[in-house]
Amino acid sequence: MSVHTAPAAPGTLERLPTLVRPKVDPGDVVVPDGYAVDACVVGLSFPTGMGFADDGSLFILEGGSTWPTRPYLPARILRFHPGEGRVEQFATEVLGGPRGVAYRDGAIYVSVKGGYFTHIDRYDLETAEREVVVDGLPNGGWHEPGGPVFGPDGLMYFAQGSVSQNGVALPQGFTVDLAKHPKAHDVPGQDVTLTGNDVWSRDPIAPFPFLTRTAAFKPFGEPSTPGEVVRGELKCSSGLWRSRPDGSGLELLAWGLRNPYGMAFGEDGELYVSDNEYEEKGERAVAMDPDRIWRIGTVSQPHGSVDKPEWYGFPDFAGDGLPVWHEKHLPTKGQKALPLIQDPPPMAGPAVYLAPPHSCMTKMDFCRSDEFGHRGLLFQCQWGTLAPLNSPRPEDLTHGFNVTCVDVTSGEAFPFAHNPEPGPASHHPGRGGIERPVDCKFGPDGRSLYVLDFGAVKVTDGYLLAYGHTGVLWRITRR
C-alpha cells in the first residue's frame, strides 16, 4: 500500500474538502516576531509522533487507532523529505499503531501501542526489515507508550503509561479497555499492599448493567482484600525503562507515571518526561490535577545499577505532590478517590514544571540551536483539553492547543506558537490555525521547528470524535 500525495495548488488550503477543518492558514498561527510559519504536509490522519533521520528526512507516524480508538485508519510510517516536498510510505504498523520514533545508526525505533502489550520495533532503513526489540509492556488501556529516545549514553529510553485512567479499570475507558481488552489491568513496578478501597461501578458489558467491584491492579470486575499484596514486575504499566538498542539490558528506572508521552534529553544530559493529569469524571474522579514535566532522577545512575525504581505518584498522588483525596482534588463530577496503596513508596519529584489541568502535554524537544534562538528551552506540545468530557470546569475548556517554551531550570514558561483566540482553530469560524499540537522537533539545520498537529477533535460532555485527514505538519523558521 502506498500513500497518495499531490502538491497543493494555489488556494487549496483555503478550501479543503475536510469540512471540519476547511482551512489551513499559517497566518493564523501566532509566533514571536522574527519567525515565519508555513504548512508542509496537510491531510495526515491522526499523526502521533515524528523523528528526523541523519539525512534530514522526517519520519511521521500516522497513529492508526488513537484518541478515540475509532476509526482505525492506516497505521503508516511516512517519510517526508523537506527539501523536495515529497512524502512516501515507509511501512505500516499493527493495531493500535505507532506512537513514537527515533533514529539511530541506520535504523528507526518505533514504539507501537499494540493490543494488550506495547512493543518497540526496529526498522532497518536500507531493507525496511522489522524486528521487535522490546515486547510485553502492559497496555490495553487508554494511555500511551512514551519515546523511544536515545540518551547521550547510547541507550534507548522508553515508557508506557497506565492502563487505567484514574487508578482502577472502570467503564469510563470503555472502548479501549472494557470493550476490546477486558482483561487489561495496571501492573505495579514494586510490590504494593492494597488498602481494599475497591471501586463500585456498573458493568456495561454484562447482560444487565450489574453493580460490580474492581480493585487497583486488577481487571475490571475483580475485587481485592485489604492487605493483599500485588507483586511488582519489571514490565509494569506506568513505567519508564532503558535498554541497549537491541532490547537487552532492560532496566526499570521509574514507575507511577500516568501518561509519559513526551520524552526528551536536555543538553544537561538529564531526561525530562511529560505526564498528563487525572480526569475529573467517573467512579474515581480527581479534580484540578496539573499536567507536569518530571526530571527522572535515576537516569544518572550507571546502567544496570538501579535496584529500586523511583515512583512518581500514580495512582494515588497528583502532579503537585498532594494525594488525590486531598481537598484540592475533590471532584464536582464523579465520585471522590480513596487511597489504593497502603504505605506507598516515597514520591519522586517535584515536577520541574506544572501546566494548567487538562493542557494535555504531549511530545517535546529541546532547542540546541543558537540560530533558532531560545537555546536550552524545552519546546513542549500541549495537545489541548478534553473538557467538558473529563472536567466540568469552564476554565479548563481552553487549556492547551499551543507549543509552550519551558525553562526547566526555573519552571517558567511562555506560549511560543498558538492561535489568536483560545482553543483550537476550528472553534473560531474562518480561522485556519492550530488544532492540536502533538509533537515538535527541531530540524537538523537548526533553523526550523517542525510542529505536528493531530487535527480536529470534537469533544462533548459524554464522548469525543476525532477526524481523519485533518492533521498538519507545520514549520516555524527563524527569518
Partner: protein, 184 residues
C-alpha cells in the same frame, strides 16, 4: 536543506477525494437497504403482534425507523451525491426474505407462531442496520466530514435503544413461543 517546496496534500486532491466520496455513496446504498428493510419489517411485525403494549412500542419504533430512513437523504446531500434508485425495492424484497427466514428458523427450533419469529428476526435486521449506520459514521470521521458523522450519532444511539427493547420482548416472549407453542 531547502525549505522552498510548497505544501504536500495527503489524499486530499480533488480527483482522489471524489473517488473517496463515491465509495461513501456506495456504502450509503447499503444503509438505505438495511434501514428500509428494518422499517418495513418493524411495521409488519407491529401489525402482527396482538399484545397491545408490545404492539404500541413497535409502532413507535417503526415511526422512528421511517425518520431514520429519511435522514439518509441528507447524508447524500452532504457528500454531493444522488441516492440510488432501486434500493428501496430491494429492501421490500429483503424484508419478505427475512420474514420467511425468521419463520423457517423459528419453526425448526419449535416455535410455530409468526409473532415471535418475526420479532426475533427483527432483532437481527436492526442490528444489521445499526452496523450500516455506524459504519457510515466512521467513514464521515475518516474524511473529516463533521456534519455527516455527527448527524448519524443520534440515529445510532436511538436505534441501539430500540435494539434493547426488541431484545427484551423477544426474550420475554420466548418461553411462550417455544414451551407453550402459542400463536405468539
Amino acid at each position: 536543506m531547502s525549505s522552498t517546496a510548497g505544501p504536500v496534500l495527503v489524499e486530499l486532491d480533488e480527483e482522489f477525494w471524489s473517488g473517496r466520496l463515491d465509495r461513501v455513496a456506495t456504502w450509503l446504498g447499503n444503509v438505505v437497504m438495511t434501514q428500509s428493510t428494518f422499517h418495513r419489517m418493524a411495521g409488519d411485525t407491529a401489525e402482527k403482534i396482538t399484545e397491545p403494549h408490545i404492539r404500541e412500542y413497535l409502532l413507535e419504533i417503526s415511526e422512528a425507523a421511517g425518520e431514520h430512513e429519511a435522514a439518509i437523504g441528507e447524508l447524500y446531500r452532504i457528500i454531493d451525491r444522488e441516492p440510488p434508485t432501486g434500493r428501496r425495492f430491494s429492501a421490500a424484497v429483503m424484508a419478505r426474505v427475512q420474514q420467511a427466514m425468521g419463520q423457517l428458523i423459528g419453526k425448526a427450533g419449535g416455535a410455530p407462531g409468526d409473532e415471535w419469529n418475526h420479532l426475533r428476526q427483527l432483532l437481527l435486521v436492526n442490528l444489521d442496520a445499526i452496523g450500516a449506520f455506524a459504519t457510515a459514521q466512521q467513514l464521515g470521521l475518516a474524511l473529516g466530514l463533521n456534519e455527516f458523522a455527527e448527524s448519524i450519532f443520534p440515529i445510532v444511539r436511538e436505534k441501539e435503544k430500540h435494539q434493547l427493547l426488541i431484545q427484551e420482548y423477544m426474550l420475554e416472549m420466548g418461553p411462550q413461543a417455544i414451551l407453550y407453542k402459542g400463536d405468539i
